[in-house]
């Protein structure tokens, strides 16, 4: 497979961005910066998934990893001793940040107004399609905007990959038990005893 045209440009853009930010992430002095660079790397690799027409994986990547990293970010701020100069990072570009967030807010309101068809306060939701409709539709991907890739993932997950899918829960169980064991303090143990 050879990449051509715009696809190639976008691929190399995302790939270079992902690698660069990964390097920045491990060289950044502040843990907060590190976390932000990690988010950028993950978003860039989500872009690569989009390029492979795997938009489900890309969505999951952004939801879980970026969401997870945001939590990590908060924990870093809470737990790690941030030195004096590091605490000011939020105050430096307050003007730019407020302008950006103002426009972002305007954009969100504009989108909301558009989707609500003029009336902002009444919620108009389209009726969900009946089950027969879904089953009888000749091509599920067209009626619901689900790509073949996503359908394939769903099918594989519950047929061929059903055992690994179940076993992943055991991985999570072990991780939870281990995390609780290591994070629990003596005092808490005494209370429960």
């Amino acid at each position: 497979m050879r990449l051509v045209g715009l696809e190639a440009v976008i691929f190399y853009l995302f790939a270079v961005v992902a690698i660069l930010f990964a390097i920045f992430m491990i060289t950044a002095r502040s843990a907060v910066h590190s976390a932000l660079f990690l988010i950028s790397t993950l978003v860039a690799s989500a872009g690569l998934y989009f390029l492979l027409q795997a938009e489900f994986v890309a969505g999951v990547q952004i939801l879980i990893y970026v969401g997870g990293v945001l939590v990590l970010f908060i924990f870093v701020i809470m737990l790690v001793n941030i030195k004096e100069e590091d605490t000011k990072i939020f105050n430096r570009q307050i003007l730019i940040a407020s302008i950006l967030s103002f426009f972002l807010g305007l954009g969100i309101i504009a989108i909301l107004l558009q989707t609500q068809k003029g009336n902002f306060f009444t919620l108009v939701s389209p009726l969900p399609p009946k089950i027969e409709q879904v089953q009888n539709s000749p091509n599920i991907s067209q009626s619901h905007n689900i790509s073949q890739n996503t359908i394939k993932i769903g099918q594989e997950l519950y047929t061929r990959a059903v055992l690994p899918f179940e076993i992943a829960s055991l991985v999570l169980l072990v991780a939870i038990v281990g995390a609780v064991r290591l994070a629990r303090e003596r005092k808490q143990e005494k209370i429960y005893d």
Binding site: L163, A175, L182, R186
Partner: protein, 498 residues
């Protein structure tokens, strides 16, 4: 579409152990001071799993003509190799459960998490043994690794234990990344994660999805990454650097477990992917490449392990370097494409290592304070039984006749010699001779030095006593009468090698 073949009977041992693990957690939550009860619960689970594994072994033997049993659309493969290793893991888990009681009771550590993590780690190892797909290898490895990271840091207030857990976690994740990248590249080259499909693709030279000729460079780089990843897990040189620190810092009963169980598990996955999937009958060139690479690694591992062990003064570090050297010996079995001698070797290695660590855990006392050899001066006559047990285990590791260690080494060296790997066998034998020095040094300390401090006589609970006795019995049984077990395994040989 092919049948899914959801056969839960084939994963019954795994299911039994998982349920037992959850039961120990719940039992511990409702009962305070449940240390002893949990040992019984764990043992019951392990023995039940052993019985069901035995039934599966008979099933595999009776279906020998049709090849290995597969279930879950090829995710689980049951053959004699996977079941033999599952037996090894069950034995390791059983001995570790018995051994850890002393540690948990003495230091008032919570037993329910320890016991359940031990069982979950065993389930992960068993999944690796029965994996027919790279996804399963990875998941099993993750379960076993995560559980072992936590066990290594179980002594939370001890700095050495913390260091051990952190080091193990970071380097373990690092090596898992290598392994995963290797799997991704092999998938990219062959178009499948299923090991049987991969071997067919390698044989035909075509990608399984596109049916185009596969990119061989991708396959080679992927195989190399897998080699590095497994090399970390079984601690071959030059990827062995984490081993001494991690083994030294972890509580001794945990070290006994992780020096044997996860290592044997990495060996079986290594065998499955390299000896069975990248076999000579599928691609001669690929096979020659990894055999040559592995030969260099094995020689390096044996030499570095044995030479560095000579200068160690801490008994746990000595045993850590000895376990590195043993990984080198076991790798020789890979060169001869002989899984049986590797399985036999891992069994003897596991039993004598757990025995040795059991003695160390008693001698080191509460909190593993006295692991320096200097502390042991003149203790030999005070605790004669323990010292003699340690002597037996050490001699077995050095490869003394009449002990299991000798038979393990003998079978491995013999098959490799027959296949024409003469140089490496000579190197290995010379290395065994060197190793006698550091295996006997603790004995010199114990018996031929004056006592320089008033050490109390070490005390042990009956479970530790049983562990040591069982390990002794196993070492002698495998050393004097290995024939029965080996003939059992030999029957399996005709079935497996295609």
């Amino acid at each position: 579409m092919q049948s899914l073949n959801l056969n839960y009977y084939y994963v019954l041992p795994h299911i039994i152990l998982s349920i037992t693990g959850i039961m120990s957690l719940l039992f511990g939550a409702f009962n305070k001071q449940a240390h002893r009860d949990l040992v019984f619960i764990n043992s019951a689970g392990l023995i039940t799993a052993g019985v069901s594994t035995y039934r599966l072994w008979n099933l595999v033997s009776s279906n020998a003509k049709d090849g290995p049993l597969t279930a879950f659309s090829g995710m689980v493969v049951l053959d004699h190799m996977s079941l033999a290793f599952i037996f090894i893991f069950l034995i390791v888990a059983f001995l570790s459960t018995l051994l850890s009681l002393n540690f948990l009771e003495d230091e008032d550590q919570s037993p329910e998490e320890f016991n359940s993590l031990l069982l979950f780690a065993t389930v992960g190892m068993m999944l690796m043994a029965s994996a027919g797909d790279m996804v399963m290898v990875f998941l099993g490895l993750e379960i076993a690794s995560i559980a072992t990271y936590v066990l290594a840091g179980y002594r939370k207030t001890d700095l050495r234990s913390n260091e051990s857990a952190l080091k193990y976690f970071i380097l373990g994740s690092f090596s898992t990344a290598f392994l995963l990248y290797g799997m991704a590249l092999v998938y990219g080259a062959t178009g499948s994660t299923n090991l049987e499909t991969i071997s067919n693709a390698i044989k035909s030279g075509n990608n399984a999805i596109t049916a185009q000729p596969m990119v061989m460079e991708l396959l080679y780089v992927g195989a190399g990454m897998l080699l590095v990843g497994f090399g970390f897990k079984i601690s071959t040189a030059p990827f062995h650097v984490w081993t001494p620190d991690v083994y030294q810092g972890a509580p001794t009963s945990v070290t006994a477990f992780m020096a044997t169980g996860p290592k044997a598990a990495a060996f079986v996955a290594f065998l499955r992917i390299f000896v069975f999937t990248f076999a000579a009958s599928y691609s001669f060139q690929l096979h020659t490449t990894w055999v040559n690479l592995l030969q260099v690694l094995a020689i390096l591992t044996m030499i570095i392990g044995n030479i560095v062990a000579l200068s160690q003064t801490d008994i746990k570090r000595v045993l850590a370097y000895s376990s590195i050297a043993h990984a080198g010996y076991a790798l020789i079995g890979f060169l001869a494409d002989d899984w049986i001698s590797v399985a036999f070797y891992m069994l003897t290695y596991s039993i004598m290592n757990i025995g040795a660590f059991a003695v160390v855990s008693v001698m080191a006392g509460k909190g593993d304070e006295k692991t320096e050899l200097e502390n042991w001066a003149g203790m030999g006559f005070k605790s004669l039984g323990l010292s003699i047990a340690l002597l037996v285990f050490m001699l077995s590791m050095a490869g003394m006749p009449l002990t299991g260690g000798f038979m393990g080494k003998f079978f491995i060296f013999k098959t490799a010699w027959d296949k024409g790997f003469h140089i490496i066998v000579i190197v290995a034998v010379l290395n065994s001779a060197i190793s006698v020095y550091y295996y006997l040094r603790p004995m010199v300390m114990l018996f031929f030095r004056d006592e320089n401090e008033t050490n109390p006589t070490p005390l042990m609970s009956w479970t530790t006593y049983v562990t040591i006795l069982l390990a002794l019995a196993g070492t002698f049984y495998l050393g004097i009468m290995p024939g029965r077990l080996f003939s059992l395994l030999e029957v399996a040989k005709d079935v497996l090698v295609k």
